[in-house]
């Protein structure tokens, strides 16, 4: 079974690599590109910890064959900071304690990013909906919601 040559943009950088047809996008990101920020939780699309942004939309990367990355633009958690400067959502999660063990956080932040890109001033209900596909087993979500509210304020303030 032949390897497939694919071309894509990941976090603003162009890549051309060959992948096996049975490779998932998550495996490619973690094991071929060594970007281990994206986590594997359930591996079957239930938990959202592997969430990445592909073509402006959140996807569970554990369910996407890597060949489908061809011609796509992908953003992972590593693509959010500017150099040493964290993205406002990351800063807010840090200052508002929006994480405990941190395993769900990269996926949670990717969902929060798409939410805030589309809805800069979300209601609490919209935030809850926005992260409904991301499970957190530590925080009880309250601090995560507060973090996303704080991030929305920070992003608005920076404009």
């Amino acid at each position: 079974m032949e390897m497939r040559d694919i071309k894509f943009t990941l976090n603003g950088n162009a890549f051309e690599i060959a992948v096996k047809p049975w490779r998932t996008l998550l495996e490619m990101i973690r094991e071929d590109l060594h970007l281990t920020g994206t986590k594997e939780g359930c591996g079957e699309g239930e938990c959202g910890s592997c969430t990445v942004i592909m073509g402006d939309k959140t996807v569970n990367s554990c369910l996407v064959p890597a060949v489908e990355a061809d011609n796509q633009e992908i953003i992972t958690i590593e693509g959010l900071p500017h150099g040493e400067k964290l993205h406002p959502i990351q800063e807010a999660f840090e200052s508002k304690a929006g994480l405990q063990c941190g395993f769900c956080t990269p996926g949670m932040i990717m969902s929060a990013k798409v939410l805030l890109d589309k809805t800069p001033d979300p209601s609490e209900e919209e935030i809850r909906e926005g992260i409904a596909g991301n499970f957190c087993r530590c925080t009880g979500y309250t601090k995560i919601i507060e973090s996303i509210q704080a991030a929305a304020e920070m992003i608005k303030g920076a404009r």
């Binding site: 047809p21 049975w22 998932t24 591996g43 079957e44 939309k57 909906e129």
Partner: protein, 296 residues
């Protein structure tokens, strides 16, 4: 308990560029040789779990751009291409406004991540009894247009799904689109999902009601039940009893009771049969109240 694998089995990948190419490739396809997929939100985890046989080829349908559409024609209804994602459906203004019950059903499916990839056609092809879009589509009399190298056939949704995880679809056949007739004149619809969590959960019971009442008399009534029988079912006896009746509290209560009698839920680790049946009664009543009481 099935062994849990995190890795996909080995297969080759093929992405045909046109429907004709796809159907040619599928000619003579035997179970397990070619596994087709669109969004992959169901097929990929089932391949990982070895619940589907490892195929020789995984066929990605997303090259068939002619199947990626949502079109409405006045007086003819809604056509939803097999590649239309759940997200594209629920973001469609016309669907929200004119097919509210379908919008509510589709919007109840899983999470944004799954909706962004998964298709409405896939929600029907995987044929789980609790599929959230099925009760609404059953009420609306949806038809699936299926196509193979032998030709095209239109199948009513109640004949398409034949059992849990079973459809009438042949292994060389694809769903091309789903046709949804207009809502009956003057009707209102609602889908109510009961699940332990409000999101990212399968429905324990899903109830869709589409009803039209004129001068307080029920002139058209359809009740679809999900998760309480081997397939999504219509509560036909409750419908027959309600048709032509004046909207009254005791009639609505009787409708709920009859619908519960018609359901045949099974017990699982998620809910007992008794609980599901009780909830059918409650939810059908609730759906009837929501759709009928506001019309008075």
């Amino acid at each position: 308990m099935a062994t849990f694998y995190r890795r996909l089995p080995r297969f080759d990948y093929v992405k045909p560029k046109s429907l004709g190419d796809a159907l040619d490739l599928l000619k003579g396809n035997k179970l397990g040789a070619i596994q087709v997929y669109a969004g992959g939100t169901d097929v990929i985890p089932r391949l990982k779990a070895r619940l589907l046989p490892a195929p020789k080829f995984l066929m990605d349908l997303k090259g068939l751009s002619e199947l990626d559409h949502i079109e409405y024609k006045d007086g003819q209804g809604l056509d939803i291409g097999a590649l239309a994602t759940v997200s594209s459906l629920i973001q469609n203004t016309l669907v929200r406004e004119q097919f509210g019950v379908l919008f509510q059903g589709a919007n109840s499916i899983a999470s944004t991540q799954v909706q962004n990839r998964g298709t409405l056609a896939g929600n029907l092809c995987n044929a789980i009894p609790s599929a959230d879009s099925a009760p609404a589509l059953l009420c609306l009399g949806a038809k699936l247009v299926c196509v193979s190298h032998r030709g095209e056939r239109r199948i009513n949704i109640e004949n398409f799904i034949t059992g849990p995880r079973k459809t009438i679809l042949e292994s060389d056949e694809l769903v091309k689109k789903i046709h949804v007739p207009d809502m009956p004149a003057g009707s209102r619809g609602v889908y109510i999902k009961l699940s332990t969590r409000s999101r990212m959960d399968l429905s324990l019971v899903g109830v869709a009601v589409v009803v039209a009442a004129v001068d307080g008399v029920i002139r058209d009534i359809r009740i679809g039940l999900g998760g309480v029988a081997p397939t999504t079912i219509r509560a036909k006896r409750a419908e027959e009893m309600l048709l032509g009746e004046k909207v009254r509290d005791n009639i609505i209560a009787e409708g709920g009771r009859l619908a519960a009698e018609e359901s045949s839920p099974r017990s699982s680790h998620r809910a007992s049969a008794e609980y599901r049946r009780l909830m059918v009664e409650v939810l059908v009543k609730r759906a009837l109240i929501q759709t009928l009481k506001v019309q008075e």
